[in-house]
C-alpha cells in the first residue's frame, strides 16, 4: 500500500477541489497515512475470484412510464441561487472570450 507524501495530499486536494490551508495539509498528511495504515489488512484477504458488490439488493432496470410530470416550482429552486438573473442562475465565466 502506498504512503501519501505532502505532494500527494496537495494533488488529492486539487482533484477534490478543496482549498486547504498549510495547517490543514500538514494535519491531513498525518491523519490520512494513519487511516491508510488501517486499510493494509485488506491485502490479507484473498479476493481473486470474488466479484465486487456495488449494491446489496437485486433490483435492476426499474423504469418509469414515459410521461410528463411537473417540475419543481422555478422560484423555489432559483431562490437558493447565490446569483440570479431573471429565470437564470449566474455562473462564473469559464471561457476567456465572451
Amino acid at each position: 500500500m502506498a504512503t501519501l507524501s505532502r505532494a500527494d495530499v496537495e494533488h488529492v486536494a486539487h482533484l477534490a477541489r478543496l482549498g486547504l490551508t498549510e495547517d490543514e495539509l500538514t494535519r491531513l498528511e498525518g491523519q490520512l497515512n494513519h487511516i491508510l495504515d488501517q486499510y493494509a489488512i485488506l491485502a490479507d484477504v484473498p479476493t481473486d475470484d470474488i466479484p465486487p458488490t456495488a449494491q446489496t439488493i437485486e433490483l435492476e432496470n426499474i423504469l418509469r412510464d414515459d410521461v410528463v410530470t411537473p417540475s419543481l416550482p422555478l422560484d423555489a429552486v432559483l431562490r437558493n441561487a447565490p446569483a440570479r438573473q431573471g429565470d437564470h442562475i449566474v455562473v462564473p465565466a469559464i471561457l476567456d472570450e465572451r
Partner: protein, 528 residues
C-alpha cells in the same frame, strides 16, 4: 396531571381518539420541553412552533371529522395522526432549512418535501422541527456538527452518539416520542444505544431517500427512533415502501404487521419461544467495555430464559468491516459532495476564476471531518489506486455479505450483538484520533455493508449510562425482527432500569448550565 411528554406515541394516539387530549395540547407540551432544554442539550437545529401548531390544528380537525363523518372514519385508524415527530436536519421540508449540519448549506431552503415528509404529512404527524447531526452524517458523536454538538441527556458532559445524535437525544429527553434518522454505518443504532432509546436501520431500499441529503448512496438508509418498539414499528410503517423518485427503493411489500406489534407483554414474550438467535463472537471486539459485555450476556440469558436458543456463531470477515467501510463510504461521499460547488445553492465565494471559487467555497464551507472523508474517498478512487482500494473493498464487501447469508441459510431468525462497544464517551475523547472515532461503529457498519435491517433496543445501564442490544435480521425481515425486539422489551418490562429517566434532564433545563459547545471546547482543550 399526566405529563403528556412521558406517553408513548401509541398512548397518545389512544387519548387523541378518545378525545382526552388534543393534538395542539400534545404539540405545545413537546415544544415547551424542547425549547426549555435546548440551551443545555442542543438537540435541535430548528424548532418551528407556528408551523407545528398549524399542523396540530389540522390534525385535530381531521380527528374531529373522523368521529362524525363516516367517509373520513379511516383517519381514526392512522396511528400517527396528531403525533409529534422530529426530522434529522437532512430531510427536506419544503420552504424550511436543511443544513445537514454543514455551514455550506447555511441559508439553503428546501424547494420540495422529501418522500418521507410527504408520507408523514399524509399520516397526520406533527413535525416539530429539525434535529442536530454530524456534518453530512459523518461522525459518531455530533461533535462534527458545524452548529455545535448535542449533549447526552443521561450525562451532559458526554456525546449522544451520532450522526443522528439530535434525534436520539430529543426522543430520550421527551421532546418528541418519534424522530427520523439516517444510518450509513450505525448513525441510527449507535446514538439510540448511547441515549437509551429504540432505533432501527431498515433493509437497504426499504424507505425512499428522495429529498434526503446523500452521504454514501450504497449504504444510506432512513429509519425511526422511538422510546418503544411498537412506536418504532408504526413510524417505519408510515414511511416505508416504493417511491419511483428513488430508483433504489424496493417494490417489496410493506407488511401491515409493522404497525401492529403485540401490545400485550405475554403475547410478545411468547413470540420468542423456539426462536433461534446467533451470537457472533467477532462482535465482542477489542476495546469493548466489560460493563457493556455484561449487559449483552445478561440479555442473551434473558432470551434463553424466554425459550429462545442462542448459539455462538462466526462472521469471519467482521474484522475487515471497518477498513472496507472507510473506503467505500468516503469514496461514495466524495462523489456525492462534489455537488456543493457554490454555483446553484448554498454558501458561495465568487471572487476569482471558477477554480478559485470552487476551492474557496468548499475549503471554507466544509468542516474537518468532511474534508478528511472527501480526501480519503478522492484518493481511493484516483487513478492508480482504484483497484487497490475501492475495487478491493467492494470485493471484501461481497465476503462480508456472504458471512451473513451463510447464517440465514442455516435458519437463524436473527443475530444478537452489542450495538456499540462502549457507553457514551466524553466530549473530546475521540476527536484527536479519527480511527478511535471510527471504531464506535465496528458492530454496526457490517450490517450496512450487507444491506440488512438492524435494530438497537435498550438493555440496561453500565456506569449509569445506557447500553444497546442490537438485533440483526435477513433482508426485508423488519416486521419479525421488531417482533423479536418487542419480545425482549416484554420480558424485561419489569426490570428496575426500565423506569429510569435520563439523569441529566433537570440540569439541561437549568439556564445556568453550560451549553454543549462550551463543554466540548473546555474538554477538548483538556484532552490536548
Amino acid at each position: 396531571m399526566t405529563d403528556l411528554t412521558r406517553l408513548t406515541a401509541h398512548e397518545m394516539a389512544a387519548r387523541l381518539r378518545a378525545g382526552d387530549v388534543s393534538a395542539r395540547e400534545l404539540a405545545i407540551a413537546h415544544l415547551d420541553a424542547a425549547e426549555r432544554d435546548d440551551h443545555g442539550l442542543h438537540a435541535w437545529l430548528s424548532i418551528d412552533r407556528d408551523r407545528a401548531l398549524a399542523e396540530a390544528d389540522a390534525a385535530d380537525d381531521r380527528l374531529a371529522a373522523a368521529r362524525t363523518d363516516p367517509d373520513r372514519a379511516g383517519d381514526r385508524l392512522r396511528p400517527l395522526l396528531g403525533i409529534p415527530v422530529a426530522l434529522k436536519d437532512l430531510v427536506s421540508l419544503a420552504g424550511g432549512q436543511c443544513t445537514a449540519g454543514s455551514r455550506i448549506l447555511t441559508g439553503y431552503r428546501a424547494p420540495y418535501d422529501a418522500h418521507i415528509t410527504e408520507r408523514l404529512r399524509a399520516a397526520g404527524a406533527v413535525i416539530l422541527g429539525k434535529t442536530n447531526m454530524d456534518e453530512f452524517a459523518m461522525g459518531s458523536s455530533t461533535e462534527h456538527s458545524a452548529f455545535g454538538p448535542t449533549a447526552n441527556p443521561w450525562a451532559l458532559d458526554r456525546v449522544p452518539g451520532g450522526s443522528s445524535g439530535g434525534s436520539a437525544a430529543a426522543v430520550a429527553a421527551f421532546h418528541t416520542p418519534l424522530a427520523i434518522g439516517t444510518d450509513t454505518g450505525g448513525s441510527i443504532r449507535q446514538p439510540a444505544a448511547l441515549c437509551g432509546v429504540v432505533g432501527m436501520k431498515p433493509t437497504y431500499g426499504r424507505v425512499s431517500r428522495y429529498g434526503i441529503v446523500a452521504f454514501a448512496s450504497s449504504l444510506d438508509q432512513i429509519g425511526p427512533f422511538a422510546r418503544d418498539v411498537r412506536d418504532a414499528g408504526a413510524l417505519l410503517h408510515a414511511i416505508a415502501g416504493r417511491d419511483e423518485r428513488d430508483s433504489t427503493s424496493s417494490p417489496e411489500p410493506v407488511p401491515a404487521t409493522l404497525a401492529a406489534l403485540p401490545a400485550d407483554d405475554d403475547e410478545a414474550a411468547a413470540g420468542l419461544r423456539g426462536k433461534r438467535f446467533g451470537l457472533p463472537r467477532e462482535y465482542f471486539v477489542a476495546g469493548m467495555e466489560p460493563g457493556v459485555e455484561t449487559r449483552i450476556r445478561e440479555a442473551v440469558a434473558s432470551l434463553e430464559g424466554a425459550g429462545a436458543t442462542v448459539e455462538e456463531v462466526s462472521l469471519p470477515h467482521t474484522d475487515y468491516g471497518l477498513a472496507t467501510y472507510y473506503i467505500v463510504a468516503p469514496a461514495e461521499a466524495s462523489a456525492n459532495l462534489a455537488r456543493y460547488d457554490g454555483i446553484r445553492y448554498g454558501a458561495s465565494r465568487r471572487d476569482g476564476d471558477v477554480l478559485a471559487d470552487y476551492l474557496a467555497t468548499r475549503g471554507e464551507g466544509f468542516g474537518a471531518e468532511v474534508k478528511r472523508r472527501i480526501m480519503l474517498g478522492t484518493y481511493a478512487l484516483s487513478a492508480g489506486y482504484y483497484d487497490a482500494y475501492y475495487l478491493k473493498a467492494q470485493k471484501v464487501r461481497t465476503l462480508i455479505k456472504a458471512d451473513f447469508d451463510a447464517l440465514w441459510a442455516q435458519g437463524f431468525d436473527a443475530l444478537v450483538a452489542p450495538t456499540s462497544p462502549t457507553i457514551a464517551f466524553r466530549f473530546g475523547a475521540r476527536l484527536a484520533d479519527p480511527v478511535a472515532m471510527y471504531l464506535s461503529d465496528a458492530c454496526t457498519l457490517p450490517v450496512n455493508m450487507a444491506g440488512l435491517p438492524g435494530v438497537s433496543i435498550p438493555c440496561g445501564l453500565s456506569e449509569g449510562l445506557p447500553v444497546g442490544l442490537q438485533l440483526i435480521g435477513a433482508a426485508w425481515s423488519e416486521a419479525p425482527l421488531l417482533g423479536l425486539a418487542r419480545g425482549y422489551e416484554a420480558i424485561t418490562a419489569g426490570a428496575a432500569w426500565r423506569d429510569l429517566e435520563p439523569t441529566g434532564l433537570a440540569e439541561a433545563a437549568d439556564p445556568a448550565t453550560p451549553t454543549p459547545a462550551e463543554r466540548m471546547a473546555a474538554m477538548t482543550a483538556a484532552e490536548g
